[in-house]
Symmetry: C2
DNA sequence: AAAGTATGTCAAGCTCACTTTACATTTATC
DNA sequence: GATAAATGTAAAGTGAGCTTGACATACTTT
């Protein structure tokens, strides 16, 4: 699943560390997410959507199987 | 996290078994989801949104911590 | 060049989403 | 009331999301 986490984070002028603190996750989680190593939990997706003030669908691009 | 899976499924006249087959998950997953026993993966949330022709946010209601 | 900030890798461990199987209970229909 | 369909519970196992910690590699700035 593709995502625009890095783009949205940079657009807000935040570091990975700052983002991780605001979302209450580890920095590793942000790194791995941005690198596309795994999909977020739906809870983390909701947290990101709230922080970025957009929908989950605007951050994560779902391509079937 | 609250969700409207049961309501949307029933609105389509589907059984839990039929829904599980269409989503390619186990029937147990549907039961547990509807009972609110755990949150779906973001992948399953996307599958449900596609099948129900709505957004993830229209199915799952996020309340913070 | 040295020091600090930001980003990255690696590895081990934990939790929970999801599976499978087997059986119980409810709801409908004959 | 018997039978079947739909929904439910219980329990053990697997895999992925996420954590922690330690260390490596840029990129700045002084």
């Amino acid at each position: 699943m593709e995502n625009l986490v890095r783009e949205k984070r940079v657009a807000l002028g935040m570091t990975q560390d700052e983002l991780s603190l605001m979302l209450d996750v580890s920095r590793q989680t942000i790194i791995s997410l941005e690198k596309g190593r795994y999909n977020p939990s739906i809870t983390l997706a909701f947290k990101l959507a709230k922080l970025f003030q957009c929908t989950i669908e605007e951050i994560f691009i779902y391509e079937e199987e």
